[in-house]
């Protein structure tokens, strides 16, 4: 069985470098290192398996009923400045959070910003269950709507220009040139006005300065929705039959 383990081994022979004079001191004479891959060539320990089993059954029961269908596999590495999975996440937030926000404040969410790092797994082709939502969004983060002036939105845009990552966005449209200088920025298809008020949905992690998104904290006001992003995803998956996310022109670079 051992021979099946993919092993990359090496030996480091180190100089005798311990200069301490304590007579009890042992001397390091050799170091060997191995990286052991854990794979299906090793049988699982039966006691451990049996211990996990009831936990696994309970989780399974809760997670594995089919909610929707994914025609493709969507991963966060699939696009340069916007991705199908990121667009889906941001669009879900906009669609699911807006009715709650409107009912509480009479205002409408203008845009969404989440973080690229927050997409923790791809959505695989095939059936979508609550488990899919747990894999993509394992964190307990809840949605927060942040009231921001246009000037602060410009800082948010600068952040996106500088990070050059496909952070999930919705409601905002950005076009940059080869140097990531801004060509066009639109919210609801209109130019951003410095003193206008915009409502930005994000999660509590980012609102509190996560991923260095410090602009959120300097906002006018915030409205915690007490609605977890994962639950927003699950609610959305229950509504739709087949998801159809695409890469589009919400954040693009032109030469």
């Amino acid at each position: 069985m051992r021979s099946f383990l993919k092993r990359i081994s090496f030996v480091l022979l180190l100089c005798l470098t311990l200069l301490s004079a304590c007579h009890k001191k042992k001397h390091l004479v050799k170091v060997e290192s191995t990286r052991i891959e854990i794979n299906d060539s090793t049988p699982g320990n039966v006691d451990i398996e049996n211990f996990i089993q009831p936990y696994r059954e309970n989780v399974k029961k809760n997670l594995d009923s089919v909610l929707a269908y994914s025609p493709e596999t969507y991963a966060k590495g699939d696009g340069k400045l916007n991705t199908a999975i990121g667009n889906l996440m941001a669009d879900i937030v906009l669609e699911q959070a807006n009715p709650i926000f409107i009912s509480r404040t009479k205002d409408t969410i203008d845009m969404v910003l989440l973080n690229f790092g927050g997409i923790r797994a791809p959505i695989p082709k095939g059936n979508i269950s609550a488990r899919t939502a747990y894999q993509v969004m394992p964190f307990e983060n809840s949605l927060v709507v942040v009231e921001m002036k246009g000037v602060l939105i410009k800082e948010l845009i600068t952040y996106l220009q500088e990070s050059q990552k496909p952070h999930p966005i919705a409601g905002i449209k950005l076009t940059v040139d080869a140097n990531f200088d801004l060509i066009k920025a639109l919210i609801n298809d209109a130019e951003i006005k410095d003193d206008a008020t915009y409502y930005v949905a994000t999660n509590d992690y980012l609102f509190n300065g996560g991923d260095a998104m410090y602009f959120f904290k300097r906002s006018e006001k915030s409205y915690p929705l007490q609605y977890k992003i994962r639950n927003a995803m699950i609610d959305y998956f229950k509504k739709v039959d087949t998801i159809m996310p695409t890469i589009d022109d919400r954040f693009i670079q032109i030469n």
Partner: protein, 303 residues
Amino acid sequence: MKRRTFVKQTAAASLVTLGGVGLSSFSVSQAKKITILHTNDVHSHIDPFGPDHGRNANKGGVARRATIIENIRKENPNTILLDAGDIFQGTPYFNFYGGELEFKLMSMLKYDVATIGNHDFDNGIEGLHAQLPNAQFKFVSANYDFTNTVMDTWVKPYEILIKDGIKIGVFGLGIQLEGLVTKELYKETKYLNPIEIAQDMSNILKTEEQCDLVICLSHLGYDYKSQPDKMSDLHLARNTEDIDLIIGGHTHTFLDKPTVVKNKKDKDVLVNQVGCYGLYLGRIDFYFDHQIDKTYQGNTQIV
């Protein structure tokens, strides 16, 4: 210092004298072997990845890790098992049970010591504290000051393990929490400068506690190429002394072998990390000898 040199010479001399009588086979057979096994960023990955997972298909799984660890312990009882943090968060097991199963399984696998990663605060510092009764292993963190939190007194800066007469000091270092973890989660936990703390720790462990091996369990991250000034394991290794091995985490860096870095005193420090999700188990064997006049060349060879 002079006294120490004298003691050393005396010790060497007595060994040589004894050597004449019949210690010719001393070198290999008498070497003591300490096996260090380590994981990091397992992120609640208890079950193996399924066959459809692409890159990680059929890899990982705690039950298989248990089998491998058990076999290694049979081969060498002088084995210690360490984890460099981010035990929590990543599968529904965490969302449903809050880390209970992770800690119980690590206890069954007989982990010795772990440090705390940023995601271990994901259910708040109270959430971490609440799971401590399920952990039959120790937590170390030298640069998180938990004084004004529920974790106060539950985490020591370091632990000392003794295996076959070899004294092993293990201290922990955590990453800066501000900007990474919501303040409401980590509460009054204070982050202290890792370099200064590591210097203190390694000095205590090497000089005062006379440890034969000093290990730093770090969740600082291996290296940040785009932010060269950001604190990392490579930084730590270069700017400290008396650390023999840094077992790292956070950056999910897959190293197939430890990186050898020269420390402040131009001595070798090993830095290792085995990616994430329990896909790999790291193993490093340290051989110790009593002989003083051995002269090994610092070279690397593949076995």
